[in-house]
């Protein structure tokens, strides 16, 4: 499979097909990125589209030393930040910072969103970039301009904190964890 970076270079040379391949690869991941950070699916689609348009307009500035996906998520993070600034100005930002797709189709995961909202914003972003965007520690460090060790320590803190927040949310929604289940089985065996 042709790498993202090779496709981007082909696109710089004028290949429309190369861009279409990149679009096919990143359309849903970018939509998911925005959907989990914004209040509506429509706005998520708008910003995903704007990210691709920014790539088309600024493709000549892409340098092969940066991974395409880091480049894309860098643009996407800027769009989210800009969107939040606009919303703050318009005083319609949902308190807590994670507006997160209230009309998305995954209400079964409401408890996950609620637990995420309780995390510190910077730790939450690192955790989401790792879990949902599947970025490496070094890619996250590059995007957020922080050392890799800071990414690792914040990610660890975020996961443990989330575990604490998830438990009551899960109990409230009647969800049992694999660990709970195995503990219950062990208790039954005794």
């Amino acid at each position: 499979m042709t790498s993202d970076e090779a496709l981007m270079l082909e696109f710089q040379r004028g290949s429309r097909e190369a861009f279409e391949e990149l679009f096919a690869r990143y359309r849903e991941p970018l939509y998911g990125f925005f959907c989990r950070r914004l209040e509506s699916r429509e706005r998520a689609e708008d910003l995903a589209q704007e990210t691709f348009l920014a790539v088309i307009r600024a493709s000549s500035r892409y340098e092969p030393r940066a991974l395409v996906r880091t480049y894309l998520y860098g643009i996407a993070l800027n769009r989210v930040a800009s969107e939040r600034r606009t919303r703050i100005r318009n005083a319609v930002l949902v308190e807590g910072g994670l507006e997160a797709a209230t009309n998305a189709d995954s209400d079964a995961a409401l408890w996950v969103r609620r637990a995420l909202e309780r995390l510190d914003a910077s730790e939450r972003e690192i955790l989401m970039l790792r879990e949902y965007e599947q970025l490496s520690y070094s890619e996250i460090a590059q995007l957020l301009r922080i050392p890799v060790n800071t990414v690792r320590s914040r990610l660890f803190r975020a996961r443990l904190a989330l575990k604490v927040w998830l438990e009551p949310e899960k109990r409230a929604h009647g969800s049992e964890t694999p660990i709970d289940a195995s503990a219950r089985r062990r208790e039954g065996e005794v």
Partner: protein, 116 residues
């Protein structure tokens, strides 16, 4: 980290995330097999990741494509090569105007030496 636990918990997490070197990852696997305390930490970390994956996002609609085709057509009309600095340089180096100048300088010196 201690004699019983040669791995920091953060490093175990890095192993689960596929961030350790092959040697270190193999050592982590071996340690997890014989250390219930660390295996418990690993189980918690795995469970948090599994929980997060329950938040699924459905597919986007075709409206995400709106405007992309016209932007590509516009770019095509403007000429892709005009925006890619150095596009005519053999080897596909498109990095910067500086690299283009360097190549032109090189061509000049090659030409000059050919005259000697």
């Amino acid at each position: 980290m201690s004699q019983n636990h040669p791995f920091e918990q953060e490093e175990l997490m890095a192993y689960l995330d596929g961030e350790l070197s092959t040697d270190r990852a193999a050592a982590a696997v071996a340690h997890l097999e014989r250390c219930p305390d660390c295996e418990r930490v690993a189980a918690v970390l795995r469970e948090v990741s599994q929980d997060l994956m329950t938040w699924e996002v459905g597919p986007s609609s075709p409206r995400i494509e709106a405007g992309i085709s016209s932007a590509l057509e516009e770019r095509g009309r403007e000429g892709a090569g005009s925006t890619a600095v150095g596009a005519e340089i053999p080897g596909g180096s498109l990095v910067s105007a500086a690299s283009r100048r360097w190549f032109l300088d090189l061509q000049f010196w090659v030409w000059l030496y050919s005259l000697v």
